[in-house]
Symmetry: C2
Subunit: 296 residues, 2 copies
């Protein structure tokens, strides 16, 4: 890939910081300029060498940058893109790292207007339980899948640049359309988070909650680990991907009703068949690395 | 605790084998006699030194034993107790390790009759992803909770003996009544297993299942780890604890409907409030050790 003179990092947290650190380690970038609403995060990022200099505003960071990485919560992307549009160089490229893609693409079209072909929507499938720039590491995306969801208007050279950057960071890039992306992640990420939050919410509301949790073992801990994720992030993801999430939730509830019916009828063979099929599917997936899911 | 002359282990698998190994290490037992429908398991247990001798039948193993440990799948407990009753010494004690307790207690009352006061229903809250006697370890119950659910007729000395054995194995013993036990574990163990099986069952049945699983990350893996558990075991648990499980499933679905409504109405503050409460509950629980759940 061509070396980037200047990268603007908007949102200096775990994901943005790790991406910047990986690009730097790969020798892919000259200067990294960071900006964040949280002044302390910018300070830490500078101290850690994740960014070279701090900008006072999104527009200031964007000015002169070859690549602008928007790594803020999905709900804040539109406002950031509004400011990016004011200062983006002609040939520069913009990308994001959000967990939902249709809504972000809609905002980008609106905010970037003529510059919209320079925007490449992205979603690295990685995270850690810790958050913030102190948890950032250039290894975060090693072997991780990264989904890009360009549209027909997206400039081929912009897609190429963002793909090169993610590959330089160790990611395995896949292209999907935004709506397929959102349906897949509604099923394998957004729905499980909602289900896990709902179980802890239900049991935690009981008068005997501490007794219940006191007897919870490994299975419960695994199942509910994702219920310790950021409420702000998952609220936004659920709302941004509402349609696909509700469809998946309804599919799930229909399947759960089948299980309920089998238990109610004491249909042992039927129950065992569905459980055995599920086990085979799950075993094929493998144990995988243990990591948090705060940024899926 | 008093040293046991002879312990009969019926069912030489992970749980029974680990309990026997822990009792031996604690110096709590002279001879351990094992019996299992699976001849290979008995052979391995002998080779590993988990048992000293093998018996040909449950009655043979029971004869002369101070303590009979029934460590077979819950559905098989009744038949084993039938044979135990034929040979149990007057002062001997019987216990089990099953995940459901009301149904087992009912069977025990029926099968053991006059000897029923010698039966102490038990449930160690421990397991590993691996199963079988080769995975047995005397450390399995170190720090683990063990629930005993004696009834009014249960002999105090029998309870004491079983409690001593579990404490010698490193367990933290709690006494509950069987119905409370079954309601608690319906909530924190049996329901999450059903929910996890249902999600993998639903997604695995799709035409694009492999695409979906291909994008699954850490959160999905955590949530669905328990869907790789034994279908036979969880079928039996679900059916034996059917009433409590269905009640918990219905409570859960009602809570899920609240989440659905909040997403549908795009009620961000409401969604965030429930998610934040759930996160606080989950964080209070701590990360805990990572272990499988096949025997919860």
């Amino acid at each position: 890939m061509r070396r980037l003179k200047r990268v603007a990092l908007v949102g200096v947290g775990l994901i943005g910081g790790s991406f910047a650190a990986a690009l730097r380690r790969a020798g892919a970038v000259g200067t990294i300029v960071g900006v964040d609403r949280n002044a302390q995060a910018v300070e830490r990022a500078t101290a850690l060498g994740v960014i070279d200099t701090a900008a006072e505003s999104v527009s200031e960071a964007t000015t002169g940058a070859d690549l602008v990485i928007v790594a803020v919560p999905v709900r804040a992307v539109a406002a950031v893109l509004h400011d990016v549009a004011l200062a983006l160089d002609q040939g520069a490229v913009v990308t994001d790292v959000g967990s939902t893609k249709e809504e972000v693409t809609r905002s980008a079209r609106e905010e970037l207007r003529a510059l919209f072909p320079r925007f490449v929507p992205g979603h690295p499938i990685a995270g850690r339980e810790a958050s913030g720039v102190d948890a950032a590491t250039p290894d975060l995306f090693k072997g991780a899948r990264v989904v890009l969801t360009p549209v027909a208007e997206t400039a081929p050279d912009a897609i190429e640049l963002v793909r090169d950057c993610w590959e330089a960071a160790g990611g395995r890039v896949a292209l999907l359309d935004a709506s397929t992306h959102d349906r897949i992640f509604a099923a394998v990420s957004h729905l499980p988070h909602l289900l896990s939050f709902a179980l802890v919410s239900e049991l935690g509301s009981r008068a005997n909650a501490s007794e219940l949790f006191g007897f919870a073992a490994g299975g419960f801990r695994d199942f509910t680990r994702i219920a310790a994720s950021s409420p702000e992030m998952w609220r936004d993801v659920a709302l941004q991907n509402r349609t696909a999430l509700l469809a998946e939730l309804d599919n799930y509830c229909a399947r759960l009703a089948v299980f309920r019916e089998l238990v109610d009828r004491a249909d042992g063979p039927g129950l065992q068949r569905l459980m055995a099929e599920a086990r085979a599917s799950r075993q094929a997936l493998g144990p995988g690395p243990r990591r948090g899911s705060s940024s899926e």
